[in-house]
């Protein structure tokens, strides 16, 4: 019998990417009973009733069909009005907005629309775990741009500049940031803008946490006229409106780039679920009060939890956005993974090791404070006992 040449069943792009670090930790966390979870990257609120009610009413009225590929015109109009009102951004509903299945799909579409094999994409780290993997799945090459606690995990122009090569096509970041909670100020944006302009970089700005800032209003990168023509803004309903399970997101940007994204979207997803889109319209039109109430709750939890972390000896910069604290575990002498695993097994508190979010995350752990104050209080007590126990006296 002649031997066939050995060939991987999986595509090289898929075989080469490692499984998510969070996934591994998820399996470990699931094996521990009665643990307090600070590992959850989603709101602990149920979607506000008015939004759920709108979806129920739509279902009763028989809205069970496909929609336009780019999304219901009514929803795109609502998105345009919302972005204009909240962040001073101007997008045409008819050709500058595409509604997607979560912001995750929007990121995937943007990368696929922009990249040719071998193109480099600057990924500002630590960041959401999917960016680098998504770049690789498109045949691109992710290049890490680390941020550090010394600069409050904000992107610096010098770090960006020294990683730009002739192959660099795009830059991707998320601010407010998951996992650090960092927020870029207007001055920060103005510092990096010339670098981006000079290199002609296309920017994918993941602004999924834009509503969740606590100390000052969020400034969208695309709100600078010089940035606008090169930026694809990605956002969604998951975090602000507590709608993670609805899988509803969107991307806005220059019409030619959005047209490219719609092309991929129509051959893959077709359209986002109509019920979610109907719910999204209600969220944008009437859900702002609900958002304000949730943001206030997160702000209080942030204040309480971050002070608690510092008090027990885990230094933590003050996160200004999203709902994560990113304390350093260096004083314990443990690596982030050792700390997270031992904290889980010995104190029954689940946090995520910072290094799974890429360069710059080492020595830190991500703690989500999107959980009740009572749970945070209990978690801090357990963490305090754990830290005292392991710290050399």
């Amino acid at each position: 019998m002649t031997e066939k040449p050995t060939r991987s069943r999986l595509a090289q792009s898929v075989a080469s990417i490692p499984p998510s670090g969070i996934r591994r930790f998820f399996e470990l966390a699931n094996s521990v009973a009665d643990c307090i979870s600070l590992g959850v990257g989603e709101p602990d609120f149920v979607t506000p009733w008015r939004i759920r009610e709108a979806a129920i009413a739509s279902l009763e009225a028989g809205y069970t069909t496909y929609t336009a590929n780019a999304g219901l015109p009514e929803l795109r109009e609502a998105i345009a009005a919302y972005l204009s009102d909240r962040f001073g951004l101007s997008y045409r509903p008819e050709d500058q907005i595409v509604v997607t299945v979560g912001a995750s799909e929007a990121i995937d579409l943007a990368l696929r629309a922009l990249l040719d094999p071998g193109d480099e994409v600057l990924v500002v780290e630590p960041c959401y775990v999917s960016y680098a993997a998504n770049v690789r799945l498109c045949g691109g090459v992710p290049v890490s741009v680390p941020t550090t606690k010394e600069t409050g995990f904000r992107l610096r122009a010098a770090e960006l500049r020294k990683r730009i090569t002739p192959r660099t096509k795009a830059l991707i970041f998320s601010y407010p940031n998951n996992p650090t909670g960092a927020v870029m100020t207007e001055d920060d944006w103005l510092e990096i803008l010339p670098v981006i302009r000079e290199a002609g970089l296309l920017v994918i700005a993941d602004e999924i946490y834009a509503e969740l800032t606590y100390d000052r209003p969020f400034v969208s990168f695309a709100s600078f006229p010089a940035a606008y023509p090169q930026t694809i803004l990605v956002s969604g309903f998951s975090k602000a409106f507590a709608m993670t399970g609805w899988r509803l997101g969107y991307a806005c940007g220059p019409a030619d780039l959005i047209a490219g994204m719609v092309k991929i979207h129509q051959y893959t997803m077709l359209c986002a679920p109509i019920l979610s889109q109907k719910a999204g319209i209600e969220a944008l039109r009437h859900g702002r009060g609900d958002v304000a109430r949730m943001v206030e709750a997160y702000r209080q939890r942030r204040n309480f939890f971050v002070k608690g972390l510092c008090d027990i000896g885990l230094p933590c910069h003050r996160p200004e956005g999203a709902f994560y604290a990113f304390p350093s575990v260096e004083p314990t002498g443990l690596t982030a993974t050792e700390f997270a695993e031992r904290l889980l097994l010995e104190a029954k508190v689940a946090v995520v090791p910072g290094d799974v979010f890429g360069e710059g995350g080492a020595g830190h752990v991500r703690c989500s404070y999107a959980t009740s104050l009572e749970a945070l209080e209990k978690a801090l007590e357990r963490m305090a006992r754990f830290v005292q126990h392991i710290r050399p006296i």
């Binding site: 979870s37 989603e42 998951n178």
Partner: protein, 164 residues
């Protein structure tokens, strides 16, 4: 303390009045002294009237019946409904009293140990007042939501332990 922070302090206390001034200070990002001063002022001004607990009595083995009574009354010259309302509000059985627009004038919430006890209160004390023209009594059969709190709402965290 700023007016916005003061309002937030009130909201926090309304949600859980057992929080210590120290905890409130951290939540609001102000000093403990500021919280204590604000509390003193709010109590003095009668804005914080009382610190109370919301109890689901259905879960306690105790006989307790609540009724809402629609009352029509004859208003009096110069004092309108106030005189009779103040008189009714003095009864210890009355836990709440509102002046209403619409089909009747006063809504009286009454608590007692049995329907019989409430019936006695209505017929002997309330209906016999000079200004009272008529009463209609509605007994509360079950409380689903009170003071903004849904009773027996399932609060399980349905989320996964770790997510991106």
């Amino acid at each position: 303390m700023s007016p916005e922070k003061t309002r937030e302090l009130l909201r926090l206390l309304e949600a859980n009045c057992r929080r210590s001034p120290e905890a409130l200070a951290v939540l609001l990002d102000v000093s403990v002294d500021e919280v204590n001063e604000a509390l003193r002022r709010l109590e003095e001004q009668g804005i914080i009237v009382k610190y109370s607990a919301l109890v689901n009595w259905d879960k306690v083995q105790e006989d307790r019946v609540t009724a809402m009574i629609d009352v029509k009354v004859t208003p009096k010259r110069d004092v309108g409904f106030d005189e009779v309302a103040q008189r009714i509000s003095q009864f210890p059985e009355v836990t709440a009293l509102y002046l209403m627009s619409g089909a009747y004038d006063l809504s009286v919430v009454v608590e007692g140990r049995s329907m019989k006890e409430i019936a006695a209160f209505v017929s002997e004390k309330l209906a016999t007042l000079d200004s009272v023209i008529s009463t209609t009594t509605h007994f509360i059969m079950k409380k689903y939501k009170h003071d903004g709190v849904i009773f027996d709402e399932r609060r399980d965290d349905r989320r996964m332990v770790v997510t991106p």
